[in-house]
Structure formats: structure tokens, C-alpha cells
Symmetry: C2
Subunit: 267 residues, 2 copies
Amino acid sequence: MIVVKVGGGTSLDIDAAVSDIVSLRAAGTELLLVHGGAQTTNQVAEALGHPPQFVTSETGHVSRRTDRRTLEIFEMVYCGQLNKMWVEKLQRAGVNAVGLSGLDGRIFEGTRKDTLRIKVEGRRMVLRDDWTGTVERVNTDLLRLLTGAGYFPVLTPPGASTAGEAINVDGDRAAAMVAGAFQADALVILTDMPGLLKQFPDESTLIREIPRGQADHFMQYAEGRMKKKVMGAVEAIEGGVRKVIFADGRVERPISRALGGEGTHIQ
Amino acid sequence: MIVVKVGGGTSLDIDAAVSDIVSLRAAGTELLLVHGGAQTTNQVAEALGHPPQFVTSETGHVSRRTDRRTLEIFEMVYCGQLNKMWVEKLQRAGVNAVGLSGLDGRIFEGTRKDTLRIKVEGRRMVLRDDWTGTVERVNTDLLRLLTGAGYFPVLTPPGASTAGEAINVDGDRAAAMVAGAFQADALVILTDMPGLLKQFPDESTLIREIPRGQADHFMQYAEGRMKKKVMGAVEAIEGGVRKVIFADGRVERPISRALGGEGTHIQ
């Protein structure tokens, strides 16, 4: 099993990923797809007059402020616009895709952080009305039910809290949990970079390999959103995934190339 | 099997429908849910600067003009905002809901009308770049796979063309096709009216019963969007559904009340 995460960057080549999925499936490779949509969500939120807000937690992590209206816009973009775009492209290419959020059938289930402790200009604050959380369990039964009948699940945040609430969960870490739950041969994370860079954003400083066990150490090179991606990689490796690959999602045959050696390989 | 269609009117009481679904399922009633979202789509389309356009076909039917951008907004609202709202409310109430569009697994499959012949001020025109169609087949296998494993499918347009394209399909007629495919005991259509009215919008002129075979005749009373609802009812009855009920979606226990005799019963 190969789990593929395609980021939400608008420069990614979705059609190239779709063609590659078709070829890999035809060759007998078992695949699951998780996609994001952060960049498009920001654009739609602006257009709807509810621009994105980002907050810094006490521990220094930057995350999206997800009030109820943001959650709704998030769902419109991730589950509506983008998930159905993926499903349509796959259906047109002959793959019987089924698009699902992590809320459906509680595919991504976890705990809601209903209060968020943040720092604003050095002062501590507690934010309520926040709808974020972390994936702790994956409903592999539902995914196996669908794949066993020939369907191709296309997964996306949000997830479900244990109480059944929709929660904004990080797509990379959700994909890592899926890969862990299936003890996947590889988790391929496609972004708008050739992989993990030693000196962001200098693409010539691509890190080719990170031996498992040293991934934590490499966190020092990770910038911004890449930090969460590396955290996901570490979780996936610890969860039993054989290999995590960060690779370029802007090229032809992006998944095959990643599996063939391109990008940053953590194993 | 009871198929419930909940319209997209914003005055409908979604929480009442959810509670009723929970009670009916607990009592052993098999249910499937199809929801709409036309009214919210119009609002979001306005907010995003792409206001809805309606066209009149050569045969006099009024339908939404669905260019590619409209299709995208339609998917945002139906599959994102509203479908996930339903799934979340059901999950919070303990129902393991799985939200799916008719595009997913080609649950609603049909033919795309890629050119639309319309009349504008008496003149005939052909519209291209239109993404509408009619449901001809329902993927009952996928629905049975999910219900057999204890999941509750929550269905919504769009559908899939035979080529796998997303197509805007009428939700009432899609629900009628689902009811027909399952040879349902009843198709309950909840709207913001107490049922079918002899003199729209005078609610005191509610038609209580329409004998099967005379439904066509009653089309003369149907106004605007209600016409499509009656067309769906006729199709459902012809397709083997025992009974079609138009009932009020603004009240407590709307489905139970409809099954208990309220609204307009066509049988």
C-alpha cells in the first residue's frame, strides 16, 4: 500500500498526479489518496469576507484559527470544490473514485482542542470557539470495505471529534496516520518543492536522504508548514510506515518519480 | 426502505429532521437521505460575484444555468457546506453518517446535456458549456455496501455523466430514482410548504391525496419548482415506489408525521 498526500498549493500539477495514479493502479499498485486545500481556502475565505487568521500557540506552532465560519468555508473548499474536482478527474480517467472527508464514517477521528492557548504579542490568551484537533484513529474498516469493492477513496480533512464534531485536522499528519494504520510501504507527500531543503527556499539544497531515527534532528531545517510535514513523517515512521518521501508535485509522473528515488527519502 | 429528500430551503428545520432520523432508525426503519441546497447556492454565488442565472428551455422548463464556475460553487455548497453539516449533525446524534455526492462512485449516473436549447425573448439559442443532466442509473451496490456495514449514506447532487463528468442533476428526481431503485415503501419529500397546494401559496388549499394514475393530471396545480417535484413523484410511482409524500419540513418529527398521514400523499 502506498499512501499519497497531495498538498493544497495551487502550483501542483493535479492532472499529472491523476495520470500517475491511473498508471500505478493499472500496474497493480494499491494506493490511497489524501489531499489538502489550504491555499485555495485562504483565497475563498478572502472572497467571502472572512479572511484567514493564523495564531501562534504557547509552544510556538503556527496554526489556522478555525472559528465556526472558517470551518464552514474550509469544508466548502476541501470537501466541495477540491474533493469533487479530484473525484471528477479520476472518474473521467476511469477510476471509480469515492470522495470522503475524515468526518464521514469518522475516517479521521481524534480529540477536539476546544480551547486553544495562544500568545499574542507576548501575552497569553485562551481562544474558545475553535474547531481544531488531531487524528488519533483511522477507520480502516470503511476504507477496506471500499477498496475491496474496487472503489478508490479520495480523502480530505476535516476529521471527526470523539463527540462527532467536525474538526480541522492537519492533512499531512492525517495522511501519516492513514499510512501507519495500513503499515504502508511508503507515504509520498507531494508539495511545491522538490523535497526537504537544507536552506529554504534554495531548491539546490535538497536533502536526498534522512536515515530513520535522525528525522527529529532534521527538524532544524524545516521551515513553516514544512515543520508539520516532518512531524508527520516522524509519526508515520514510528507508526510502522517503511518510508516517507517528500517529492515534487509540479512534475509529470510525480508519484512514480518519488518511488523511483527523487525527493527526500526518510527510511 | 424509506427515502427522504430534504429540500434546500433555508426555513427547513434540519435539527428536527435529524432527531426524527435518529428515532426512526432506532425503531428499525431503513432510511436513505438525499438533500438539496439551491437557496444557499444562490446566496454563495452572489457573495462570490457569480450570481445565479436561470434559463427557460424550448419546452418551457426553467432551470439553473450551470457553467463551469457555477458547477464549482454548486459543489462547494452541496458537497462541502451542506453535506458536511448534515453528516456532522448526524454524527453528533450517534448516526455513523457517510456523506457522498452522486459523482462519488457514480451513485447518480446519467447523460449530460452538453448543449441546452433555450428561448430568450422568444428567440431560440443553443447554450454550450452547460453541465446539467438527468439521473438514469443509481449505484445501489455502493449504497447497500455502506448500509450493510451500518453506515448511513447522506446523498446530494451533482451526479456523474457516463463519461465521468460532474453534472448538475435535480435533487428531487435523483431521490425519486433512488426510491425506485430500492422499490421503496415511501419517498418523503420535505419542503417549506405543508405539501402540494391547489392554490399556491395558500396553505389552506393543501391537496391531501392524489390517487396514483392521476398524478399527471395534478401537474396543473404545480407551480415553479413544485413542477419538478411532481414529475419526480410520477417517475417514482412508475418506477415501483409505493407512495410519494410531499410534507412540511419546518415542523418537529417531519418524517414521522408525513408517514403518519400529513402532507400530500400520492399512491
